[in-house]
């Protein structure tokens, strides 16, 4: 009996922990300017990617990430994740790695063959939110926190329903001359 008496508070704490993480609404505070003064304006900011944001389990962050994915027209090249000019994001093939830091670097610094650098154009918090959403497209995040369907034409199953696709890191294609 005492085993279950100890178990009860433990599982209450872990339930509340994961619930708190999933449900927290953190509205971004102004962050200090990352770029030293001497740099001229438009140069892409060489920023060391901070540790992965807590977004993997946070529903609000991924929901914002999904909104920004459409607001910043990522769908223009990646479609709804199925891929178009840009590579597919909901499959298991990752050209530059599937870890949050890799995706963060891809967004901030851009990639050859057309991926623009969004440094300075998307704030770090928003970038982490987009990273979390991109990972949720292939089921790499907690499904209870992943976003549901959109009030839009259903392009694919909601992210919360997509099963986990273990990422295969393929070699990056040779840059075209």
């Amino acid at each position: 009996m005492n085993a279950s008496r100890r178990m009860l508070p433990v599982c209450c704490v872990c339930v509340s922990l994961c619930a708190c993480e999933r449900e927290a609404r953190t509205f971004p505070a102004p962050s200090p300017p990352p770029v030293p003064a001497s740099q001229e304006i438009a140069a892409p900011a060489r920023t060391a990617p901070p540790a992965s944001g807590p977004n993997e389990k946070n529903a609000y962050a991924m929901s914002e990430g999904k909104r920004l994915f459409h607001w910043y027209n990522c769908a223009g090249c990646h479609a709804e994740g199925g891929g178009d000019k840009g590579p597919a994001l909901m499959d298991d093939v990752w050209i530059y790695g599937s870890a949050p830091e890799n995706i963060y670097a891809t967004i901030v610094e851009g990639r050859p063959n057309g991926m623009p650098a969004f440094a300075g154009r998307i704030t770090p918090e928003q970038t982490w939110q987009i990273v979390a959403y991109v990972r949720s497209m292939s089921g790499l995040v907690a499904s209870t926190a992943a976003p549901g369907r959109d009030d839009a034409i259903a392009a694919h199953e909601p992210e919360s329903r997509s099963e986990r696709k273990p990422p295969k890191d393929a070699a990056p294609p040779a840059p075209t001359p």
Binding site: P30, I41, R121, T123, Q126, D151
Partner: protein, 317 residues
């Protein structure tokens, strides 16, 4: 801001109906409360153990029944009258003449209003946000749509509210007969900043409206001094251009309010702050402090870039 100080025919009809309703229901309320008080006051005080005359005098019973029937009949007649009054007001509201109306497509977003004026030809169209100038005496015909959740347009002095529902387009018409600034609100709970989603309607003389509209149609003026020029470059190369549009520049994103003439508006952030350089700077620096949950992130600019940006925004008259 009161539904009882109408500045247009629509609100006036309803204010008239309100007076009728207030009088009729007031009389009925006083009558019922008075009847209750008198009934309790005059009824013979029953001692605790007084035996109950269950049978009750039949004569008195008949009289009670007749009085009750009379009262019910009176209530029914009054209610029928109120239904007629309501229907008459409804008809009056529906018969607002809308020929020569000013057409505006109003789209509600999470937590601001986008207005596209379709007054005249296609090239006369212009888009503004959170502030409507309308000519006095000329009807305004809205086409209401919502881009995300359900909102509700309500300017008490001008007209009753109308919901903006995603997936539907609803017509709505009113007319301002008195010049003035009328504050409207979103009346349907729509998320974190439902409280700060106001709308300013400025009814002014037709020529003043025409001048304003003409100014709105012009693209943004070329910034004069170099601080403003540098500010424009900052605007175009940082987070601002990802969502905002300024006509006459390459920034054409439609996700956030059109800023071509933002400095000329009376308020910013959907009626939350009075429009002044200081308020604009405070809002741009940290919008989440003023409207927590709004979709505008705080900027990550260096202080001198920020100052240049503020200087540029000041030129967007």
């Amino acid at each position: 801001m009161s539904a009882l100080l109408p500045a247009g025919p629509q609100a006036a009809h309803v204010a008239a109906l309100w007076d009728v309703m207030l009088v009729v229901t007031g009389i009925v309320f006083v009558a019922i409360v008075a009847a209750t008080i008198v009934a309790v006051a005059r009824a013979r005080r029953g001692a605790a153990d007084a035996p109950s005359d269950a049978a009750g005098a039949t004569a008195g019973e008949q009289r009670s029944h007749r009085i009750i029937w009379a009262a019910v009949l009176a209530s029914t007649v009054l209610l029928a009258g109120l239904v007629v009054a309501s229907a008459v007001t409804d008809r009056a509201l529906a018969s607002l003449p809308t020929d020569g109306a000013l057409r505006i497509t109003l789209t509600a977003h999470q937590w601001w209003w986008e207005a596209t004026y379709e007054d005249g030809g296609v090239h006369d169209r212009f888009t503004t946000a959170n502030e409507l100038h309308i000519p006095v005496g000329r009807p305004v015909l809205f086409t209401l749509a919502a881009s995300d959740v359900i909102h509700s347009l309500w300017v008490p002095e001008l007209s009753g509210k109308k919901d903006l529902i995603p997936g539907r387009v609803a017509p709505h018409a009113w007319r301002a007969d008195r010049a003035g600034t009328y504050r409207g609100v979103c009346a349907e709970f729509c998320g974190y900043q439902h409280a700060h989603m106001a709308l300013l309607v400025i009814a002014e003389a037709p020529d003043a409206y025409a001048a304003w509209a003409e100014r709105q149609r012009q693209p943004a003026a070329e910034p004069a001094d170099d601080a403003a020029k540098r500010g424009r470059d900052v605007f175009l190369t940082s987070t601002c251009a990802m969502c905002h549009a300024v006509d006459g520049t390459t920034a054409q994103a439609q996700r956030a309010p059109n800023l071509t003439h933002v400095a000329s508006r009376r308020t910013i952030a959907a009626g939350t702050l009075a429009n002044s350089p200081a308020n604009r700077a405070a809002w741009i620096a940290d919008p989440q402090a003023i409207k927590p949950g709004a979709n505008m992130p705080p900027h990550a600019l260096r202080p001198e870039d920020a100052r240049a940006l503020f200087a540029y925004v000041d030129t967007l008259q």
